[in-house]
Amino acid sequence: MNLLPRVGVGLAAPLLAIVVAGLVTSLVLIGVGDSVAEFWGVMFTVPSARLTVGIVNGASILYLSGLAAAVAFRMNLFNIGVEGQYRVATFAAAYFAGQALLPGYLNTVVTICVAMVVGAAWAGIAAILRVTRGVSEVISTIMLNAIAGGLVAYLLRELGDQQGQIRRTTTIPESSWVGGIPLIPGESSRVYGLAVLAVVAGIAFAVILNRTRFGFDLRATGRSETAAVASGVNVKRMVVSAMLLSGAVAGLIGMLDLFGNSHAYGSTIQVGVGFTGIAVALLGRNNPVGIALGALVFAFLSAQSNALGIEAGISPEIVAVTQGVIVLSVVIAYEVVRRYQVRIEQRDVARALERDRAREAGALS
């Protein structure tokens, strides 16, 4: 099959999914008695400059989360624990940075490394359980999410300060904050400075996966473990490295907000971003560009939903329905497309065989 239809199919499936999600959402709106026209009117309003910045910020965070899930997915590992890795890593980073052991941006750089190491270590627990005891990483990472929530809450109690109603870690010294990037001229809200982390991580993901021996081994093991073993890949080591890498990327998720906005870990932290990342990775087919598009779609929907209640009096929760249906229909759409491709391949093979047989028959006669 040549490249063009492949790209076409790759785009058709997610687009189809988004259309289906739109239809289902409309049906739900009709069912509840809300105005469909008002809903889409608000959703398709061109976002203001400030909201555009918000969408870019939201998408950057989701992108890292999607990337973290995708690293493991490519290896056929299901790291459901991105959420837990993100929370443990962000807490550790916020605490470390708040101690101000290092001056200025050195503190920032080292803190980011701390976050990656802690995220990797938390994911590493699941990796070790998997390679030594054969524990499914799906189960262990889900459990580790629950443990992460409890652990962080406990540590926040022990090590955090009470500020008003919110318990949070010590605020990071101002010299280590990372200023925003002015995306749109004349708009005062800024894109997180550390959004560059998302870009760097995306490029690194693409390069490592497609241009290195490690990336090849990773994809090969993901496709067929036995074939990988036969060609000399150490599968256990691959499992551990993929999980560590996934956890390290998960550790980056919280850095954008930590250095750009909150400057501490507290009870107002964004939760659930690790789960949304799984959906974004699926939507983007674990492809670095695809994940970016998926993250943008999700961030766009979430950002626009804020105006729903203000302008149309519709509960913004409806957007969660849209997002859920998008993921569901994407999976179905890809399956349909895949079956279609298999059928075409089978037909091509059958035709080639037919031709060969006809030729043989001709030669014999």
Partner: protein, 366 residues
């Protein structure tokens, strides 16, 4: 074969992803939030234009948010104003809260009320950019290192005083000399309820045992939005011999009522924030002894009226810390259901007067 395994696992993953999203969607919104009789859809008077941003849980929590809404409904009607109310999404970050407030401000609302302390940082970030708009935060406080603003009011309630009275009511009702307290989040705001409750119980009988539990240390959704968590905690207390359980846990408290129903005849729950007897189901009603009223509605009405008066008279709008206590009827207790006998009510009224007169000092978490 292997390909099939890969595909199956992909299905598992997508199933989990979808489930996570659906859970996120359900958690906040199970009881028809955009109800068609929303006052904000019909009110279009020339009075103040009020924007109200709900806390997680939103309309339908039969507690904190509903009480804020009741106040909004009243004050919009009284002042012939107009309004917009918006809900929060679960697990959102401060940037999303800030964006919500900015959109309300950009939509020309003259008074914006943020329901819940979680909006603290967001309000103090937004308010300086809109000096002509008055912001009120229910249970609010400025973040560390941030000064009070002249256009922001931190609206508070002496929850410890109201909790003291329902604590006394619990102590006068219990047969087993064993009562319970279920808190949503372990933060001073909720500890204030616990301390008042405990003091009220001890005032009547120092020998009564008090079981106490918080549903979460840091996760607002787990603490205030999970009836399952509330039911688990309260069931444990009833099993351990309690016969009255007081909750300060928002929507999670609905599970406390269910636990009282399951525990059977003579087992009581005490509601919080609004008069929860009125909104409880028929089978829960016989178990709701009273409710500690934290009159968020009074807070909303008083604040909005205060701002409107100030605008009219050219004075200064309420700002800084504004606290409503027993003397201003900002807190109190409910008697719906008539489960409190006249003797008990007389005793409670006596205690109430002593608190107002300063003869009883109720301990506080602040």
């Amino acid at each position: 074969m292997l390909q099939r395994v890969v595909r199956q696992r992909t299905r598992v993953a997508s199933g989990i992803a979808v489930a996570a999203l659906i859970l996120a969607g359900c958690a906040g919104n199970d009881e028809g939030s955009s109800s068609t009789d929303d006052i904000c859809e019909s009110a279009d008077g020339d009075g103040p234009k009020i924007g109200l941003a709900f806390d997680v849980g939103g309309i339908g929590d039969q507690s904190f948010n509903d009480s804020a809404y009741a106040g909004l409904e009243q004050v919009v009607t009284d002042l012939d104003g107009s309004c917009t109310d918006v809900e929060a999404a679960d697990g959102e970050d401060d940037a999303a809260r800030e964006e919500r407030l900015r959109q309300l401000a950009d939509a020309d609302h003259t008074i914006i009320i943020a329901v819940g302390f979680i909006y603290g940082a967001a309000v103090y970030n937004v308010a300086p950019d809109y000096p002509d708009i008055n912001f009120g935060i229910i249970d609010g406080a400025p973040p560390e290192g941030v000064d009070l603003l002249t256009n922001v009011a931190n609206i508070g309630f002496a929850a410890n005083q109201g909790s003291f009275l329902v604590g006394a009511a619990a102590a006068l009702t219990t047969q087993s000399d064993n009562v319970g307290f279920v808190g949503g989040l372990n933060i001073p705001l909720i500890q204030d309820f616990e301390m008042g409750f405990e003091a009220g119980v001890k005032e009547i009988n120092p020998d009564i045992e008090i079981q106490s539990e918080y549903l979460s240390q840091d996760d607002a959704a787990e603490g205030f939005e999970s009836p399952t968590n509330g039911e688990t905690a309260a069931t444990g207390m009833f099993d351990n011999g309690a016969d009255v359980v007081f909750h300060a846990a928002g929507k999670s408290g609905l599970g406390v009522f269910d636990a009282a129903v399951a525990a059977g005849e003579g087992m009581w729950a005490i509601g919080v924030d609004s008069d929860q007897y009125l909104t409880a189901s028929a089978e829960q009603k016989p178990h709701i002894l009273t409710s500690m009223l934290k009159r968020v509605d009074t807070g909303v009405i008083e604040y909005v009226t205060g701002v409107a008066d100030a605008v009219e008279a050219g004075g200064e709008a309420p700002n800084g810390f504004v606290t409503y206590d027993l003397s201003s009827d900002g807190v109190g207790y409910a008697t719906s259901g008539d489960f409190l006998s006249q003797e008990i009510i007389d005793q409670l009224e006596d205690l109430k007067q002593q608190i107002i007169d300063g003869e009883i000092k109720v301990p506080t978490a602040f």
